[in-house]
Amino acid sequence: MANADMFHIRTEEAPVMPAPVSTTGVIGWLRQNLFSSIGNTILTVIGILIAYWIIAPFVQFAIIDAVWTGSDRTACLPEEGAGHAGACWAYVKAYLPQFIYGRYPVEEIYRVNIVYALFVALLVPLAMPSAPFKTVNALLFLVVFPIVSYFLLTGLVIGDNVILPIVETPVWGGLLVTLVIAVTGIVASLPLGVLLALGRRSKMPIVRLVSVIFIEFWRGVPLITVLFMSSVMLPLFLPEGVVFDKLLRVLIGVTLFSAAYMAEVVRGGLQAIPSGQYEGAKALGLRFWQMMGLIILPQALKLVIPGIVNTFIGLFKDTTLVLIVGMFDLLGQIQSSFSDPTWSSPTQGHSGYLFAAIVFWCFCFGMSRYSIFMEKKLHTGHKR
C-alpha cells in the first residue's frame, strides 16, 4: 500500500501549451525561411543587399528625383551641383498622345479611340470563360472587327463622297502600330496556322512536305531578316505598278512568320486529342472538314489557348523590330522623339526607355497571367 504513492496516474489532460514562439508567427516564418542555417543567413543578407542595390537607385530615379510637371527641357535639367537628375516624366506626358497615336491627325483621333474601345469591348468577354455568346463574339472579333477597324483607321471613300477622310499609314505610329501589327499578325496567322498544322499531319505526302518546309523555313530564320525580306524583296515579286504600302508589307511578313509558330502550337493541340475522337467522328460518317470543324478543332483550339497567348506575347514583343525597317511603333516613336531639342536633357533617353519598358511589361505580364489562368482552368482533373 505504501507503494501506491510512487505511482501517479494523471486523471485530466495536461494543459495545451502554445507552440514555441520561435516556430510560429512572423518569427517562426523568418527562422524557417530566412535564417535556418548559417549558409541560409548569408544568402538572405546577400539577397537583401542585391535587392536594395537595385531598388533604391530605381526608386530614387523614377519617383523621388523625378520631374512630374514642366513645359520644356529646363524643368528636367539637373540643378547646379545636384548631380544626377531623376526621370523626366513631364516629357513623357507631353509626348503621350504621340506615343499612343503616332502622327495621326488630331481631328481624326476619335476613330482610333473607337477602334481601341471596340477592341476592348470585344476582347474582354471573349477572354472571360464565363461570358456567354462565345461563337457570336468570336465571329465579331475575328471577322467583323478587322473589317470595321480597317475602314475606321484608313478611311472610307465611296465614289466622290468622303465618309471618313483617308489617313495614310506612314502617319500612323506609336502604340497604334504596335497593336495593329501584333493583333493582325495573330488573327491572320491563326487560320493559316491551322491549315499548316493540318497539312503537317496529313496523309498526303506532298501536302505534308510543303507544310513541313514552310514551317521549318520560317521558324529557322530571324524575324529581322523576314522584315528586310518583306520591305526589300517583296516589291520585286510584284508586277510593275502594283505597290503595297510599307505597313502592309510588314504585316504580310509578320503573318507568314507567326503562322509557322502558330502551326506548331496548333499541332500540339491536335496531337493531344485522343484518336478515339477521330475514330468516333469517322464512325458517325462525318467528312474530313466536318470532323475537323465540329469535333477535333473545337477541342484542340481550346486546349492551346495558353499556347496562342504565349505566341501573341512573343509577337507583341517582336513588333519592336519594325523600327529597324523604318516604321514607328511604340519604341520607334519614343526613339524618334529623342531628336526633339525642346525636351533634350540628360535623362530624356532613360525616361523614354523606362516608359516603354513599363508599357510593354504591363501588357506582357498581364497576358502571361491570363495564359496561366487559362492553363489552370483547362487542366481541371488532369493534374497528377
Binding site: 525561411n33 530566412l34 535556418s36 541560409n40 544568402l43 538572405t44 539577397g47 537583401i48 542585391i50 535587392a51 496523309k203 498526303m204 505526302p205 506532298i206 501536302v207 510543303v210 523555313f217 521558324r219 529557322g220 530564320v221 530571324p222 524575324l223 529581322i224 531578316t225 528586310f228 525580306m229 526589300v232 524583296m233 516589291p235 520585286l236 515579286f237 510584284l238 508586277p239 510593275e240 506575347i313 514583343k317 517582336d318 519592336t320 523590330l321 523600327l323 529597324i324 519604341l331 526613339q335 533617353g349 532613360h350 526607355y353 516603354a356 519598358a357 510593354f360 511589361w361 506582357c364 505580364f365 502571361s368
Partner: protein, 405 residues
C-alpha cells in the same frame, strides 16, 4: 444465300472515283503543286522584269568587288580593300561569336536563377522570380537599347576608366580592355599538352566507367580530369620556358588630351556594342532558361530523391546522379529551342550597329542593291545554324533519353 454468293463472286464493290480517298488525295496534291508552280512562275517572271528595269545584274559576282567600308570588330583579316564576300564572312564569324558567348553565359545564369527560384530561402526565390518576370516581359530590342544607350553610355569617358581585378581590366566608353596573351615560339607545345590532357581524360573516364560497371568501385574521374587538362598545359608552360607573355593595355593619363586614354593596339579590347549585345542576349535568354530548369527539376518526382537517400546517397551524389540526369531529359528539348532563339535574336545587332551577318549584309545590300542574294545568304546561314544546333542537341538528347525495353 444466292445473293451473298452473287456478291462475292462479282468484282469488289467500287465507290465512285469522286469518293475514293486515294483519287481525291492525288487530285488535291496535283492542285497544290500546280498552284505552287504558278505562284513560283509569277514571282520569278515579275522579279526578272523588275531587276531588268532597275538594272541590277543578279548573280554572285558582287562578292568579289571591293567593299570599301570598315568593320569595327573583325575576327578574320579584313580591311577596307577586302571584298564583299570577306566582309560577309567577318559578319558571320561575329554572329557565331555572339551566339556562342551568349549561349555560354545564358546557360550559367539561367541554371543559377532556375535553382534559386526553387530555393527554400524566401528572399532568394523572390529575387529569382522578379528577375524572370521582369526580363522576359520586356522586348529584347528595348533591353539591348538599355544596355547600349543607358548603361554603357554612363561609364567614364575616353580619358578615364573604371578598373577592376587588380587593375588588369579597365572599362570606359571605348569598351572593356584587358591583357592580351602573346604567344611566342614554343607556346604550341602548351596547345598540344591541352589536347593530350583532353584525350587522356576521355580514356580515363572510359576506363573508370568500365571498372565501375564490372567491380562497382568508384574512381575520381572529375579530379583526375581537371588535373590532366589544367596540369599538363601548366607543366608544358614551365618546361618550355614560359613562352606566353601578357600584353597589358597602355593607359595614358598625361600629355595632350586627345592622346589620353587607352592606346590603340595595346591589350585586348571588347567593343561596347559587343558587350551590350551579349549582356542583353544572355540575360534575356537566361530568364527563359531559368523557367525551363525549374520545370525540369520539378518534373523529377520527390520519390526519386527519397529513394536515393534511402539507398544511402548523400545530397550531393543524389543531385548529381539521380535528379539532374532525369531533369536533363525534360530540360534539353526546350533548351535547344532557346539556344536557337538566342542565335536568331543575335541578328538584332543591326539596331546598335554591331557588325554581325545581318548588319554587314544590310550595308552590302544598300551599296549593291543585291537584295535577293543577300537575303538568300542570311536565310541559308541561319537555317544551317539552326539545323546544326538542333542536330547536335538531338544527338545529345538521344544519349540522355530514357532507354526503354
Amino acid at each position: 444465300m444466292s445473293i451473298q454468293e452473287q456478291h462475292t463472286a462479282g468484282a469488289p464493290a467500287r465507290a465512285s472515283l469522286l469518293n475514293d480517298p486515294k483519287a481525291r488525295g492525288l487530285f488535291y496534291q496535283i492542285l497544290l503543286v500546280t498552284a505552287l508552280v504558278v505562284l513560283g512562275y509569277f514571282i520569278i517572271t515579275n522579279t526578272l522584269a523588275n531587276l531588268e528595269r532597275q538594272n541590277i545584274a543578279s548573280g554572285w559576282d558582287f562578292l568579289d568587288t571591293t567593299a570599301g567600308f570598315g568593320i569595327i570588330q573583325a575576327l578574320a583579316p579584313y580591311s577596307e580593300t577586302s571584298s564583299y564576300g570577306q566582309a560577309l564572312f567577318v559578319g558571320f564569324l561575329n554572329t557565331v561569336l555572339v551566339a556562342v558567348i551568349g549561349i555560354f553565359f545564358a546557360t550559367i545564369i539561367g541554371f543559377i536563377v532556375g535553382v534559386a527560384r526553387l530555393s527554400n530561402n524566401w528572399v532568394i526565390s523572390r529575387l529569382a522570380y522578379c528577375y524572370i518576370e521582369l526580363l522576359r516581359n520586356i522586348p529584347l530590342l528595348l533591353q539591348i537599347f538599355f544596355w547600349y544607350f543607358a548603361v554603357l553610355r554612363a561609364v567614364p569617358g575616353k580619358q578615364e576608366k573604371w578598373s577592376f581585378l587588380f587593375g588588369w581590366f579597365g572599362l570606359n566608353i571605348s569598351g572593356l580592355r584587358g591583357p592580351k596573351p602573346v604567344f611566342e615560339p614554343g607556346s604550341e607545345f602548351i596547345g598540344y599538352a591541352l589536347i593530350l590532357g583532353i584525350i587522356l581524360t576521355v580514356i580515363v573516364a572510359r576506363w573508370a566507367r568500365k571498372r565501375r560497371d564490372a567491380t562497382g568501385q568508384q574512381f575520381h574521374t572529375i579530379w583526375t580530369g581537371i588535373g590532366l587538362i589544367i596540369g599538363l598545359p601548366v607543366l608544358a608552360y614551365f618546361v618550355t620556358g614560359m613562352p606566353i607573355a601578357l600584353d597589358f593595355p597602355v593607359f595614358v593619363e598625361t600629355g595632350p588630351r586627345l592622346r589620353q586614354g587607352f592606346q590603340l593596339g595595346t591589350g585586348f579590347n571588347v567593343i561596347p556594342e559587343f558587350l551590350a549585345l551579349t549582356a542583353a542576349l544572355a540575360l534575356y535568354t537566361a530568364s527563359f532558361i531559368a523557367e525551363i530548369v525549374r520545370a525540369g527539376i520539378q518534373a523529377v518526382s520527390h520519390g526519386q530523391t527519397e529513394a536515393a537517400h534511402a539507398l544511402g546517397l548523400r545530397s550531393g551524389p543524389t543531385l548529381r546522379l539521380v535528379v539532374i540526369p532525369q531533369a536533363m531529359r525534360v530540360i534539353i528539348p526546350p533548351l535547344t529551342s532557346q539556344y536557337l532563339n538566342l542565335t536568331k535574336n543575335s541578328s538584332l545587332a543591326v539596331a546598335i550597329a554591331f557588325p554581325d551577318l545581318v548588319s554587314v549584309g544590310g550595308t552590302v545590300l544598300n551599296q549593291t542593291g543585291q537584295a535577293i542574294e543577300i537575303i538568300a545568304i542570311w536565310m541559308i546561314v541561319y537555317l544551317s545554324l539552326s539545323l546544326i544546333t538542333s542536330a547536335f542537341m538531338n544527338w545529345y538528347n538521344q544519349r540522355m533519353a530514357l532507354v526503354e525495353r
